[in-house]
């Protein structure tokens, strides 16, 4: 019986439009910003981008694509992440922004 309720609770949690992430933070829909990053040729080194952007509270996903040399940032819908902040963090991670698409 206990297992049933736990399963039901899990289903209801993930079926709802808002859910809690691994930090226990509840959030809903996400916006995606695609950032072209110059110099991103090494997986080992590109870890710095994840480290830098996950420090921001409204960033829920950092998806690196080495083929396209892009980084997709998933941020909480309705929150802001300015081009200037993106450029600053990319520079701090050791790279250069090529373009930003929203």
């Amino acid at each position: 019986m206990k297992k049933f309720f736990l399963t039901l609770a899990a289903l209801l949690t993930f079926a709802s439009p808002a859910f809690a992430d691994h930090n226990g933070k509840t959030h809903g829909a996400l916006d995606t910003i695609t950032v072209g990053v110059d110099g991103m040729v090494c997986d080992f080194c590109a870890r710095s981008l994840e480290k830098s952007f996950y420090q921001l509270e409204n960033v829920e996903g950092v998806i690196i694509d080495l083929d396209k040399k892009t980084m997709a940032l998933e941020i909480d819908q309705g929150t802001q992440l300015t081009d200037e902040k993106i450029k600053e963090l990319v520079y701090y991670s050791g790279y250069k922004v090529r373009d930003i698409k929203r």
Partner: protein, 206 residues
Amino acid sequence: MRFLLFCAIFLLPLTAHARPVSWPGGWMVMLMNDTASNGAQINYTLTPKYALGIQHEYFREEKFNMDAATLDILLKRWNNTGSQANLYFKSGAGIAYGSDDTDPAAFAGLEIDWEDRRFFTLYENRFFYAGDQDKFIKHKARLGVAPYEGDYGDLHTWIMLQADYDAGADDTFSLTPLVRLFKGTTLIEAGYNLDGGVLFNLTKQF
């Protein structure tokens, strides 16, 4: 002595497998083992251009240790769409000590590298001084090729050839084929010197 000088070339340069400056707030732990020495380094990146660390090395044949504080500086980085190049200044200062003597020790050198997802090149020099314990000037070059282009998060593989030159050693020139593997924040290198020495390095980023 000649053998040690020749082999010692692997020690300090091997701290540079992973780039010596990572990201602000990032820690790096490196373990280096080769035919001549065993070493370990921990460094912390302060800014996008500066990293501070501590380094310990033991030169097995000459039987001396070196403990040093290190400062690595990214002098210039060239970011292009499909490639990246870097120029670093690497240095350290501390003490070298054997069973009897203790001497001041210092080293400095430049490293320049270029890579895309298929090819890797590197040149590095190092000026090393440790009083009566040892002193040398060494040069290192590497060429690498990746047999495949892995996606982010995959196991990445590089086949590399390292050439070392030390004008002060009897064996002035040496070649070491090696394999570099990395996945996530862990990097491993293993090689076999054509003169019979084994090379093994591990780098972990935090």
